[in-house]
């Protein structure tokens, strides 16, 4: 007999008779298991055997709902560009799987209140989990964001948190002289949960639209409490926790702002200017490697020699073992840019202190101050494509606040 998820069925097994709505398979479910939603709301798995009988009582009834977004035409223009991720994920109530939002209505489901104040223009540019982001996606986001500047006082980009800092860095270099803030917002708990952080992150981010901020930023919870959010400079932010709401931290810098009831700026920032400059070219022949004890120098060479640029996250002040230093020299002679950052993340690299560092410098490695490894990786792609031949000079030029010359005591928390 024909049956499919959504049908009301009766299953007769050795254990007895079960009645409920058939659910789609769960990825980790047994091969021989059928999942039923019972009348009391519970799902259970039932084992199918040769003598199991299944009878369809009634076929599935679709119950789709539509929710209109009200546009407040005289409200402040805000663009929301969906890219996927937890913040725009919902439980599919038939399948029970978390799926990305597929419509602009779903995108804003978490914050119906905003329709009262803002003239929201929302669309989904694509919907992927952020671990699947590639350079081509950064380019699309940059181009689509650029298109919004005419009409909107702010562009909000719901984004998966895993690689949100990479995207923020890419946008910071690709889009400069911003006429309005570009705000990446994520969530660590999906919007279909009563405890989701999406609501506070989104509603607070909107408050930036009313300020003169003109940077690419990341807005996320400032603590585990639902009381305030931190606005991080995109090129200084890093996901420092796998699961907490306050996973993001500004590294070697203070957050730009704290938003509770109001926006309180806590750092200097670039004001809105414009017209925006869009430069999305990227040289994808860049690699980021993480040095570890006993690392085979050949691996560094194999990777580096296939690239135009290599960023190494070294130990402590930026070191690699001395047997890798000749490789750096080789790569350099082949014209590969080798930039040094630190696994410590906090603090600047300094290759003058120990002999290894001095040897690295002599081999041609370029210490990249207190830039985060991921930021250096993204920046190098952009520099190689947009300023060929000026790598060293440009990598050491502070373009969008990606490093600082001085670090103060309160930044290390």
């Amino acid at each position: 007999m024909d049956f499919e998820p959504g049908d009301l069925v009766e299953i007769k097994t050795k254990k007895g008779v079960f009645r409920g709505i058939m659910m789609p398979k769960h990825a980790f479910s047994g091969e021989d298991i059928i999942i039923l939603k019972l009348e009391n709301g519970y799902n259970i798995g039932i084992k199918m055997e040769d003598d199991t009988e299944i009878r369809v009582i009634s076929k599935r009834t679709s119950r789709e709902t539509h929710r209109e977004i009200k546009r407040k035409v005289d409200g402040i223009g805000v663009s929301v560009l969906g890219t996927g991720g937890t913040i725009a994920s919902y439980v599919d109530y038939t399948t029970g799987a978390v799926k990305p939002a597929i419509s602009q209505e779903e995108l804003l489901l978490a914050i119906p209140e905003i329709e009262d104040k803002y003239n929201i223009k929302s669309r989904i540019i694509f919907s992927i989990l952020s671990e699947n982001m590639k350079v081509e996606h950064w380019k699309i986001i940059a181009k689509e964001t650029f298109k919004e500047f005419d009409e909107s006082k702010g562009v909000i980009i719901p984004h998966g948190t895993d690689t949100m800092a990479y995207t923020a860095s890419a946008l910071a270099f690709m889009l400069q002289n911003l006429p309005s803030p570009v705000i990446l917002v994520g969530a660590q708990r999906s919007s279909d949960r009563p405890s989701s952080d999406a609501y506070l992150n989104l509603i607070s981010s909107l408050k930036l639209v009313d300020t003169d901020l003109g940077e690419v930023v990341i807005s996320m919870h400032g603590s585990t409490s639902d009381t305030y959010i931190h606005v991080h400079r995109g090129v200084r932010a890093r996901k420092m926790h796998t699961s907490r709401r306050d996973a993001f931290r500004s590294i070697n810098d203070r957050p730009i702002a704290i938003i509770g009831n109001d926006v309180v700026f806590t750092n200097t920032y670039k004001k809105r200017s414009g017209p925006a400059v869009l430069r999305t070219d990227m040289d994808e022949k860049v690699a980021l490697i993480y040095y570890y004890p006993n690392m085979d120098p050949e691996i560094v060479y194999d990777i580096g020699s296939r690239m135009h640029g290599l960023i190494i996250a070294g130990t402590g002040l930026g070191h690699v073992s001395e047997d890798i230093i000749p490789v750096i020299k080789d790569l350099k002679s082949k014209g590969v840019f080798v930039g040094i950052t630190s696994q410590c993340l906090y603090g600047a690299v300094n290759l003058n202190v120990y002999s290894t560092g001095r040897e690295m410098i002599l081999a041609g490695a370029i210490p990249l101050k207190d830039m985060l490894p991921e930021v250096a990786y993204v920046k190098l792609m952009w520099v190689l494509a947009n300023h060929p031949g000026e790598e060293e000079e440009r990598m050491l030029e502070n373009m969008v606040g990606e490093f600082s010359e001085r670090r103060v005591g309160i930044e290390y928390v």
């Binding site: 298991i33 038939t94 799987a97 949960r193 989701s196």
Partner: protein, 607 residues
């Protein structure tokens, strides 16, 4: 017809369900954080009624972190793999209740946004279903056995803020749901006892107050009312009884409304604040000072229904608005009173156009809240014609209940996608089946045989969870009936006389049972000794030395001689026996006394 079902929630004595924290409570608060919860839309794009009402309260939740809570309880980390020990206990319990066990366990999220779960939902899975348990009033069906997370412990609640502690959150709970087949408050209590015993017999459950809680589902005319979280067994019967009465009142109220057939379509909320500018009512005066409004409605044809000998609908309405933060209402069946005078009542009647068969209700609150409360009441008034309304109620200490929230719908259950399904194999079930503890009936038979006592006595020992206590003293003095009589009859009788039996500790009882074993005293002396001990802190066994047979015969001879003429009772022997026992002061065995007296009396009659 009275119909009730039980949901029994029993904490397990294992680690937590989805993390490695231990499950002890703690007063060592290490920190706290603040959260809010928002209702989520169901698949139908609708909000769950119960969830929506909670969110109306616009509350913030403060959570206290203790050492036995981690990021999982903080909702800052996904749940870990399910605690297999807890799952095995749930399977064991399912087998005890003759349930079908699912082949694969799927955890669900049950939406609860009163703050008691940081996630806004409770994780729960159905393990067994369609079972039964035998009781003296027949087979009671067990609809389901679920394994779920305990909620956080509410520490305090004040204006808009509820404080919860995370120590209790995540303790595994087993939920046993019976069919709605219990036909009287007595059966409800009995079923709770029997199921409670079965759960304890696994030896894997927590003990003590709060470790087991019962929810009652009671319906008398079809609509279901759930009374949530009854932690004391003694209260169950009372609650069932009061709820039965309340539902009877609502049903007869509905009939009265049908008879009167008042036009309830039109009930306008009217601002009557100005009537109370000069009022003597403190509550209203203070409210107006704060900027609150006094709002009123006319309730057509409801005179005498809000409060009278037969109807107490006003109380229902007051409970309803209290939930959204309006402390109370005033209504026409109780006014003038509470500082509201007759002139004000008359003015109200005029303003609200209250006719001679009508009632009115006023309340004082800020305008938004007041209007909301009024709308809730108007809805409830219109629904009164349906009789009992489905709702969730909470128990008070005196056995009455109060309104908590609407009954949650079934749409509040979603799959917990963070916990993978768990396969339950036949091998697992068979292994667990071999560990099945004895059933209640089996345990009664075993105990009654072991101690040589009646089944009824064995039942009492089990019901009061006294087996360990009993067997301790039985091991000193192997006469089950005497041990039972002392522990379960004599001591409670002494307590009834108003004496402080808490002074009778194990040591005192040990000494008494040893004296009994050694024949230094007779069981008849025990009540006297216990009373002396309570009053004088001593156990003068020497004063209760059993009388020698010869001495006893002489003593009784004397008693008979002194009294036989005076006694008018037809039960001559009984009367003599009473006098003798009183004077013997526990120094002789009752049966022995009885037979000697009989012999003496019969001897006289022969003469």
């Amino acid at each position: 017809m009275f119909k009730a079902g039980l949901e029994i929630h029993q904490q397990l004595d294992t680690k937590k369900l989805f993390c490695s924290c231990n499950s002890n409570l703690s007063d060592n608060v290490l920190g706290e954080f603040t959260r809010v919860l928002r209702p989520v839309q169901s698949e139908l794009g609708e909000y769950d009624a119960a969830a929506l009402m909670e969110s109306m309260k616009k509350r913030m939740f403060i959570y206290q972190i203790t050492e036995n809570s981690c990021l999982v309880e903080m909702d800052e980390e996904p749940p870990h793999d399910v605690n297999m020990e807890a799952l095995e206990i749930a399977i064991l319990v399912s087998l005890m209740f003759n349930c079908k066990i699912v082949d694969e366990v799927h955890f669900m999220r049950k939406i609860v946004i009163d703050g008691s779960n940081t996630t806004g939902f409770q994780r729960t899975a159905l393990i067994g279903m369609d079972g039964y348990i035998n009781t003296e009033f027949g087979k009671l069906s067990i609809k389901s056995i679920c394994l779920e997370e305990e909620a956080a412990r509410k520490i305090d609640e004040h204006e808009g803020i509820a404080i919860y502690r995370l120590d209790r959150l995540g303790i595994p709970l087993i939920e046993v749901t019976t069919g709605p087949e219990l036909r009287s408050p007595e059966e409800v209590k009995r079923a709770a006892q029997i199921i409670g015993y079965a759960l304890r017999s696994t030896k894997k459950v927590k003990r003590g107050l709060g470790s087991i809680r019962q929810d009652l589902n009671i319906s008398t005319d079809g609509e279901r009312v759930e009374v949530k979280g009854v932690s004391r067994l003694n209260l169950i019967e009372k609650i069932a009884y009061y709820e039965m009465e309340r539902q009877a009142m609502l049903i007869s109220l509905a009939e009265e409304i049908k008879k009167r057939n008042p036009p309830l379509e039109k009930m306008d909320i009217i601002d009557v604040t100005d009537i109370f500018r000069e009022t003597n009512s403190k509550i209203i005066k203070n409210g107006i000072k704060k900027g609150d409004k006094v709002l009123g409605i006319r309730v057509p044809g409801f005179k005498g229904l809000l409060k009278s000998d037969r109807y107490r609908f006003g109380k229902e309405l007051a409970e309803l608005v209290r939930v959204i933060g309006v402390p109370g209402i005033f209504h026409s069946d109780e006014l003038p009173n509470y500082g509201i005078n007759e002139a004000e009542v008359n003015e109200l009647k005029k303003r609200l156009s209250v006719g001679k068969d009508d009632a009115f209700i006023i309340l004082v609150a800020d305008e938004e809240k007041g209007n909301k409360a009024m709308k809730y009441m108007i809805d409830r008034i219109r629904n009164a014609i349906k009789g009992v309304n489905p709702e969730t109620r909470g128990p008070r200490d005196d056995g009455t209940t109060e309104y908590l929230r609407p009954l949650p719908g079934s749409e509040r259950m979603y799959p917990e996608t963070d916990v993978p399904p768990i396969r339950i194999t036949m091998e697992m079930i068979e292994k667990i089946r071999s560990m099945l503890p004895k059933s209640y009936e089996e345990a009664i038979i075993e105990i009654s045989k072991k101690y040589g006592i009646s089944k009824q006595q064995a039942e009492q020992i089990i019901d009061e969870e006294m087996e360990d206590y009993f067997s301790r003293f039985y091991s000193i003095y192997q006469d089950g009936n005497t041990v039972f009589r002392i522990l379960f009859n004599i001591i409670p009788e002494i307590e009834k006389e108003g004496l402080d039996v808490s002074k009778i500790d194990y040591d005192v009882l040990d000494q008494i049972f040893i004296a009994l074993r050694e024949g230094r005293i007779l069981k008849e002396a025990v009540p006297y000794l216990l009373k002396i001990y309570i009053e004088k802190n001593s156990l003068p066994f020497e004063n209760f030395k059993p009388m020698e047979l010869k001495e006893l015969e002489e003593f009784l001879e004397k008693i008979v001689n002194e009294n036989i003429e005076k006694i008018k009772s037809r039960n001559l022997e009984g009367a003599l026996m009473g006098i003798a026992m009183e004077k013997l002061y526990g120094r002789a065995d009752g049966e022995m006394v009885n037979s000697i007296i009989r012999r003496i009396v019969e001897g006289r009659e022969l003469k």
